[in-house]
Structures are given as C-alpha cells and as structure tokens.
Symmetry: C2
Subunit: 305 residues, 2 copies
Amino acid sequence: MEPFKIYILGCGSALPTLRHQPSSQIVEIRGKMMMVDCGEGTQILLRRSRIAFTRICNVFISHLHGDHCLGLIGMISTFGLLNRQAPLHVYAPGYYETLFQAQMEMFCGGLGYDVIFHPIDTKRMQVIYEDRSLTVETIPLEHRIPCAGFLFREKQGMPHIKREMIDFYKIPISQINNIKNGADWTDEDGNIVPNSCLVKRADPVRSYAYCSDTRYMPNLHELIKGVNVLYHECTYDKSMKKNACIYYHSTAEDAGRIAAEAGVGTLLLGHYSARYDDEDVLLQEARKVFPNAQLTGENMVIDVK
Amino acid sequence: MEPFKIYILGCGSALPTLRHQPSSQIVEIRGKMMMVDCGEGTQILLRRSRIAFTRICNVFISHLHGDHCLGLIGMISTFGLLNRQAPLHVYAPGYYETLFQAQMEMFCGGLGYDVIFHPIDTKRMQVIYEDRSLTVETIPLEHRIPCAGFLFREKQGMPHIKREMIDFYKIPISQINNIKNGADWTDEDGNIVPNSCLVKRADPVRSYAYCSDTRYMPNLHELIKGVNVLYHECTYDKSMKKNACIYYHSTAEDAGRIAAEAGVGTLLLGHYSARYDDEDVLLQEARKVFPNAQLTGENMVIDVK
C-alpha cells in the first residue's frame, strides 16, 4: 500500500511549554505532503523532522488562534530564501485573508514563488481540495472563533491485477487498464474469463480526520463515521469540564466519546493543556470510553491503516 | 556594581538552522529587563532562559524582517495567558504600526494588560526611552529596509559615601544625600571637611550598543564611541563581500573595523549566515582587526563592564 502517514510536529496548546510545541502536523498521502496548522516555530520542527520543505504544497489552517497559525508567515518567507519555485496553497478561514495579505506584503516581499490563499467556510462540510488520489473536506467545529477540522480521504484506487492469470491467458499489456476498469477477457477460443478471476480487490480506502480545536459536538460523529484515524483535541481531563465549557475545548472523555460514536479505528489525542506534566491521566480517561486511544508526541509518525 | 548583562536568546540570521535561533536578546540594567528584537520562537527561548516573563517591560524591534520580529505577537499573546497586568511597551519602526494593530486585534483579543506601540524614527539618533537610571537611543543603520540599532547607556550614579568618614565626623543620616550631591561638611568646631574626603567616585557609566542588521557604515563609530560592549552583525566572512553589499549586511572584518574605529571595550559577533557550520572563521577574521572580539551563542550571558 502507498504510504498514508501523519507526522506530529507539535501537539501542545496555546501556552507554550518546554515539553510540547504548538499545533502542526504533516499528512502524507501517496507521496503528497500536506501541512495541517502551523504554530509558531513550525519551520524549525519541520527542519528537525527532515521532511523536505519542497514537498509541502498545501497548508490547511483550522482557525486563527496563534498556536495554530503564527508560524505560517515565517515558514513562507523561509521557503522563499530556500529558492522554492512551486506554488504554495494556503487554506484558512476567509476572514484572515486581508491580514494575511498585509503580512505577506510586509514580511515576504520578492518571493520567487506564488502563495495562493483559499478562503474556507468553517460552517459547512465541503470538499476544499481534490486531486486524482484524495479529497480534503472541512469539518465544521465549535470553538470560540470560526474553526474547521479537516478530513483526508483517499479515493478508491484500481483493483490489482493477478499477475499469474495475466501471464496464463497471455493478455497483452495494452489491455491491462481495461481489465483494471472491470472488463472481462475473451481468450483465443472465445471463452470468457470473468473480470473477477483477473483482479484482486483494490486497497481499502483510508481516511484521517483532524479535529482541533472544538468543544464536544454531539453530531460530530456523523461527519467522520468510520475514519481509520481520528485526531481529536483533549485540552483537559474531565475534572476540568468547566474550563472546557468556558473555552470551547474538549476533555479526554469527550474525545473518547466521539471516537466511540464515530466508530473510528484509532484515536490520537493531542492539544494538551500546559498544566499536565504527564498526559497519562488524559490517556486513561479516553481509554475508558474508547480503548484504542493513544497519546501523540512531537516527532511521532503514525501509519494510517 | 548593579548588574548590566546581555542574555543572548538567538543570534542566527534569516534562514533558521538547527544551531542558531533568530535574533533576540535581553538587556538587564539595574534590575530592568529589556528585549531587543523578537524573532520567531523567542517566547520559547525566553522560557528556557528562566528569565521571568513579567520583568520585561520594553521590547525594541530594530527592523521588520521576520527573523527580528515574528515572535512578537505570539509572545504578547502568551503574556496575556500568563495573566500579565503590567503594560508592555513596544518600540518599532513607525510604518509597522497599522499591521501591528491588525495583528493584535486578530491574535491578542481580550488581553488583560496594555500594549503601547511607540513608533521610532530609524533615520536619526534619538533618546526613545529614559528613566532614572538609563537611556536608550536609536542608532540609524543602513539595511535594505528602515532599521535602527539601540544604544543602552546608564546614567551617572551618585558617588559612594565613605562610611568610615561619615562615622568619624558623626554626620547624621539626614545629611547623606546632600553630601552625595557634592556638599562639604562643617564640623562642630567650624572646620570645613571638603566633599572629596567624604565620598568615593561613582561607578563608571556603562553602555551597550546593538547594531544589527547593517552594512558597514563609515560614520557609525562616531555614534557609539567608547561603548563598553558592541554587538555588531557579521553575516558573512570577507570572501562573501559581494553578498554583504547586495543584502546590506556586514562581514566579520567590517564588524571588527567598526569596533576598532569606535574604540569599544568588547565586540560581540552574531547574526551568522546559515552557511557557517563553524563560526570560527568569522571570529578569526574580526580578531585580526579587533582582538577583543568574541562569538555569541544561544544561552550566553555577557557582563557589561
């Protein structure tokens, strides 16, 4: 299977600590690298990760709290210093556009590549990016300011050819695409070989949902039903429920509940409040509701399967 | 003597590396902490340095290249999360004000303290800050965009009382201030004790000049004559003189020349281009012109004397 990986660059929350960096991730799908959120210092974390800067063509910003986007302008400027030429697409809540362009003008003059801003509507679920192999959709979230999560979904690939059958029937290369597309084969004697004998099932479609920042949303599970991997914020443990309500954040129990309701494969926890020296309390709380939960940490790489 | 120290938070240049952070320093004079420049990630470096966030009341921004100021908004926001109440004064080139206020509005809503922007004129030398014990002056520099260095100068303190003489002549406490201010003393028999017998010389006045970023300026030495410590950028070695000209930066030789011409005490080198894995080449080059040069590095603390 082609790689589908999540690289955690930072998984802390607003108050910086010496243990966690602000939010940023790279999602790699079939060789494409996409960034989700870009907190202050992301460019340094990216450099440490040894991911090639040039491979990142899309940056998705969930919302305009500093810990999710203050690294963007510096990173764009640095890409320029590194002689990037490929365009960079930035997807962010639409009301950022004016300020973004003013920042670009002040700090990123004379860039040798194009930066294209795509305003996103955080209020509805919508495909905002699509290519041959994947789609990215917004997930409307409920935070203190407009905020969207992102759902990365592979497109259904072609079935795999059964090499030995192709050889046995001496099917020419020119016909392979037809067969992948479902055609049967008629041999020299006029016998029809059904398509199902010639191909193996395509790889299952994989998907990843990024949900940060948000309070618990009773209907969220409908939008992310059955994703393989869900990253859901858990800023607090449940004893801090009151803070979660005030600041529109989730508890670890909330995150577990969403994962259970949506029937996801794996739950990744992150966006920890700076008050936790050890996030095990959050992990245990989430696992009580959804056993297949795990903590994220800087430099962690997760395979989506 | 009261402390006069420079804490190096970052001393790299525009392109971030794993060895150096972008520009930022703390200047401590008689218990006051002032920040000079605030590149991306400064708030993390500040936290690592264990300098109390709350003690910083003034931030001086030399110019609006990202590596000197992109950490400002995140730091201001974090100060708010940490419940800062004291006002923070930001001094920066005046044309930043509109964008600064727009960034503040977007990223720093609901701060519990005041942030006061002071536009500085980078074209002339001028006192921009003054209190009982020190002044800060702008130093006009020559860079690709408006840019000012900063000259921190202690004010002349009072002379020190000679304790034993005060005791010998039984001079009452109420007269000490007069004597510090230069008064003679008349004893019970009418004899005049000259002031010079009663006091020792005040501590010498110390000064620190921060000059980054700039090309070599033939007249700069007149503005910083005899400072105790000079921080001067040296982005390149002299074999890269052409780049220094194009980008309005200095070579290490230039930095040494300025230090020699100005007759400073110590030259601190910084703002190294990312191309140097080892800055010793820069140090040796500067020392040929001005022997008392030293490299700065992250976490270094320099005593000004």
